[in-house]
Subunit: 250 residues, 2 copies
């Protein structure tokens, strides 16, 4: 409800109104390598950046966060926390969805009765994304998103999938895409459709976009400087300066 | 701070960060004719729609609301509540700034040492707006906005003045204007620059805007249906269908 609508309700004396609860989104980070934010990581360890990032993204959507913390790569621990996550409207996991020995998430989800809809998409970053549906006998269901563990992959997959799904429930679907002129030339490597961290601004004559010097799906530092993702649809060709491309606002 | 920045802070182990407090915005509705939202108005009375509406607008800006309720049109009561409002970073009043016998707000503000910067602007709706500054010896100050009491005037004046001032402090200045093609012709009455409640949408070829059937500054119902204000800069001429005009997103 927007401020003018709230004012209108007041004007006509609706001091109490019935509203829908915001959707609930459970967030679970997975991985033996993850340590809490206030711990110094040992060799092969990293701090939990995805949990706080994804929870902030859920918060921005106006949904309620159910914070499930970090699960180690063990079937029983994963199953216990995923079971709790399946009580929410949406469950968002990060990590454990690639092809490694310890990527246990798809198997545990299957055992708990979550039906896989797809696994892996032609996308950079974010290829390993997993999506499934948990249906209950009372016809309610939980949508389950297994996001890749690399932070920029997690971010991009959230933007492209979770944000849209939650927005359908909140009714607040914002236009996120616009056209912009490339400031510098760019030749994408490989043929995967790519979302590249970038900065757009208006230069008077229209919108221009500068690609940032991005090191890949682990490079959260560059993403934090971006205000959009420049989209390259997977053609292996030179994009020239001045060419119009689509940018996705973040 | 955005989610990627929060993730980055987590990644580098910044479990605690120093942040600025959000600005405080005091909201005071004035007028003998105002009754609470849950009371049935008698002859000549109206419910307090501006208080809830303006407080929702402050909330949207990420600022803290200081809710001062309703003041009757009496010097002492106004002075007592305004004094409390001057403890905030911003004080937003609605009503009491026109030229009537009971429009006491400018006089009381002057007596309390708030220096008037301007009173009345060439704007429709919103002509009676008052703006002043309260400066303290320690070099801090409170910006004071006296908005007109008509709800759509209050809304438009908040959008054009309070929102911008608060956004400078929060650092979150959003682009609010875009160009759109008029769906129907329109001839503004009078030569005041006008913000007219309207609905914009993308039609594939660009943005189009439909003017709503707006009855004037008291017509909150129409504003509640709008997603933008169409801007007419004060030329008394026919604007034709298909003409590009500026719209202000709300």
């Amino acid at each position: 409800m927007n401020p003018a609508q709230i004012g209108l309700l007041a004007e006509v004396g609706r001091a109490k109104v019935r509203i829908a609860n915001p959707p609930t989104v459970a967030v679970l980070t997975t991985g033996n390598e993850i340590v809490p934010v206030d711990v110094v990581p040992g060799p092969g360890q990293i701090r939990n950046s995805n949990g706080p990032m994804l929870e902030a993204m859920v918060h921005q959507l106006g949904a309620s966060v159910v914070s499930l913390g970090v699960a180690r790569d063990e079937d029983d621990e994963l199953a216990a926390l995923i079971r709790r996550g399946l009580e929410a409207d949406f469950l968002v996991l990060s990590g454990g969805v690639s092809a490694g020995v310890l990527d246990l998430v798809p198997g545990v989800l299957a055992k708990l009765g979550v039906r896989q809809v797809f696994h892996k998409v032609n996308l950079k970053p974010g290829k390993p994304i997993w999506f499934g549906v948990f249906s209950r006998e009372n016809n309610t269901r939980t949508l389950v998103f297994g996001l890749p563990g690399n932070p920029v992959s997690s971010f991009v997959c959230f933007e492209l999938s979770v944000r849209f799904a939650v927005s359908v429930l909140t009714g607040d679907i914002q236009p996120k895409q616009k056209m912009a002129r490339l400031v510098q030339e760019h030749r994408p490597r490989g043929d995967r459709p790519t979302y590249w961290p970038a900065v757009f601004k208006d230069d008077g004559a229209g919108t221009i976009v500068s690609l940032l010097s991005w090191k890949g799906s682990g490079d959260l530092k560059t993403l934090a400087d971006a205000n959009c993702l420049a989209f390259f649809p997977g053609e292996e060709r030179l994009y020239v300066a001045g060419e119009e491309i689509a940018v996705y606002l973040i």
